[in-house]
Amino acid sequence: MTMTATQQQTPGFLNVAPDNWKLAIAVGLAVSILAASLFPASASFWVVGAMVAMVAASIVVNAFRKRYYGGLLVSPAIAVLFVMNIFPLLWSLGLSFFAYQSSQQSMRFIGLANYSRLLTDDLKAPELWGNLTNTAMFTVLTVSAQMIVGFLLAVMFAKQFPLRRYLLILVLTPMMLSVVAVGVFFSYYYDPTFGLISQSIKAWNGEQFILFSNKTGAVAGIVFADAWMWSPFVMLLVLAGLVSVPKYLYEAASIDRVGSWRRFWTITFPYIRGLLMLALLFRTIEAFKMADLIILLTKGGNDTMTISYHVIRIANEQNKTSEGAALSYLLLFVVIVLTNLYLYIANRRSREN
């Protein structure tokens, strides 16, 4: 609507006016380059900052005069995201084309060598694939566990009953805990000597139960803790969907004598599908980044290493910054492909309806 509002005459390039953003950019660039080459970093940073502010101000004034409210509204968010997110991302993308270790302070352009090494090196490639497989496994297991548990919990709470409000908050609590505490306490719960699981089993057969004695146990332990922590998130989304189904649809269904299975698929499911997709999307993104629980529980032992943990190791512990960046971009690529697939499916479905 307002976008198509009066298009004013664009001011001449050399016209000194508060909304001449082109001139502002030119001046800003010139001053910035000058400052950057003349002053030390700490001083020139603020000069550059001032120039950015000037350019931004001119753009804002320009947008305001042209009644371009969309740009005005979006720009603060874009600015914050750019400075704190996108710019560092691009920076590390750039780094991934260099041989650079943060502890060494030397930098050498090597093009795609980091990537090709990761994908073809006979030591690194199998490791990458192993980690990728593990990550995929954890993603599938944790996300499906969360979806199932979250869904069942939601179904349970989708009724009105006394004390519901108080019971619901109990179930929501796990996701408010700090991962450190969860990791440390679950390693206690799983401990063969002190752990509650082992002790209950021991009371029954006299043997200590060693959960982390093999990969199955280790994976189960990690998946359980993660699913326990984040199922409430899924539950909340599904519950919101469930309570938004108009009651008269269920009434109509009961009068039409629709069976409960059919009722779920034709009435309930369409209402929660979008939210399930959303939960799936967010949980999958998070699951791909899973590292902290693994660090706390197994340290990657029993073949539970994930890509994200691997990135932390090489980028942080071993200071192979550029190799870590390259690895993360491979990971990002996988995640983007996956999420696009999700969004594609979700959009296609919604277009059908």
Binding site: P246, Y248, L249, E251, A252, A253, S254, I255, D256, R257, V258, G259, R262, T266, I267, F269, P270, N353
Partner: protein, 362 residues
């Protein structure tokens, strides 16, 4: 046999009494409208019949069987909801076919039934569309189609036409009536629109504050309202209800002091039991004739506001005591503002109500 019988049902929500001792029986092939202002308990009554609410007390008997404790799906009924309750994820055909799954019909048979009702209700064109893609009137017909696609014990309609515009409403009234008349099922329609009730119903049950005030044919409730509420609720323009002093009653003639005039009028013999006392007299706006001069049985009033209604004209007139009288006169009779009218009520359409609000009739 497709019948519905409701015996003294009561619904309480905590302390709040939604329906009290309502009784109603609907014969096979009969259409009964539950009519009343919003919040009167008519929808609750319908939902108790459907089994969507449980009656706190009383019995619901459908097809001769007590069904109080049965859930809706066991009652074998069909219902059309106010908001139609179309399943948003299914297309029109699937929506209509939904009640048929229970009967485990073959695909062909079920398609045949769907097509048949679709034809009756002119829905053949839209069977493949989604509910979001059809018009309001079509939605309404889909809801009806879904109800009549099978052969239930009875039909229940909850404000079926309230979301349609005037024209559609008019045509749908006819269509539904026609469809229902071919089915010979007990049918209950909930509505707040008296025109709908008067045109569609065989009998009307008028409810207020959780109680059924009167049950009768459209003619009965119009011509013989049981009490002041029914009298004022049924009929447009609204019946004039005026307080009066009943002075005496002699040989079928009551002499009353009405709106500042002393009036003698013919009245039901039962009125004699009321005297002497304050009474409420109800006269329909169309039951006046405007005389040229004051007489024994005329009321004097001055025209204040004139509303032409096409064939007739509605005149609001002020009585001596300041009360307002609505009079409908033929279009040909020109009334000017300020003109003094001498109104003579038609004794056959004059209703006397006692102090308890009940009509007094022999």
């Amino acid at each position: 046999m497709s019948t519905i019988e409701v015996k003294k049902i009561t619904k309480k929500y905590g302390e709040f009494l939604a329906v009290k001792d309502a009784s109603l029986s609907v014969k096979a092939g009969e259409v009964v409208c539950l009519l009343g202002p919003s919040g009167c308990g008519k929808t609750t009554t319908l939902r108790m019949i459907a089994g969507l609410e449980r009656a706190t007390e009383g019995d619901v008997i459908i097809a001769g069987k007590r069904m109080n404790d049965l859930p809706p799906e066991k009652r074998d009924i069909a219902m059309v909801f106010q908001f139609y309750a179309l399943y948003p994820a299914l297309n029109v055909g699937q929506n209509i076919a939904m009640p048929l799954h229970f009967e485990k019909l073959s695909k062909d048979e079920s398609d045949k039934r769907v097509n048949k009702v679709a034809k009756i209700l002119h829905l053949t064109e839209v069977l493949d569309r989604m509910p979001g893609q059809v018009s309001e009137g079509e939605k309404q017909r889909i809801a009806v189609a879904r109800a009549i696609v099978r052969d239930p014990n009875c039909f229940l309609f909850d404000e079926p036409l309230s979301r349609l515009d005037v024209e559609l409403r008019h045509s749908m009234r006819g269509q539904i009536k026609e469809v229902l008349s071919n089915l010979s099922k007990a049918t209950v329609i909930v509505t707040h629109d008296q025109l709908e009730a008067l045109t569609m119903a065989d009998r009307i049950a008028i409810m207020r504050d959780g109680m059924i005030e009167q049950v009768g044919t459209p003619h009965e409730v119009f011509a013989k309202p049981a009490n002041v509420f029914v009298a004022s609720f049924i009929g447009t323009p609204q019946m004039n209800l005026m307080e009066a002093d009943l002075k005496s009653f002699n040989k079928g003639m009551a002499s009353v002091s009405l709106a500042g005039s002393a009036v003698e009028m013919a009245a039901d013999p039962a009125v004699s039991t009321l005297k002497p006392s304050k009474v409420m007299i109800g006269i329909r706006p169309r039951a006046f004739t405007a005389e040229s001069s004051a007489g024994k049985s005329t009321i004097r009033a001055q025209a204040e506001l004139i509303e032409p209604m096409g064939a007739e004209t509605l005149v609001h007139a002020r009585t001596k005591l300041g009360g307002d009288i609505r009079v409908v006169v033929p279009r040909t009779q020109r009334v000017k503002i300020g003109e003094v009218l001498h109104l003579k009520p038609d004794p056959k359409q004059t209703h006397f109500f006692g102090e308890n609000g009940r009509a007094v009739r022999a």
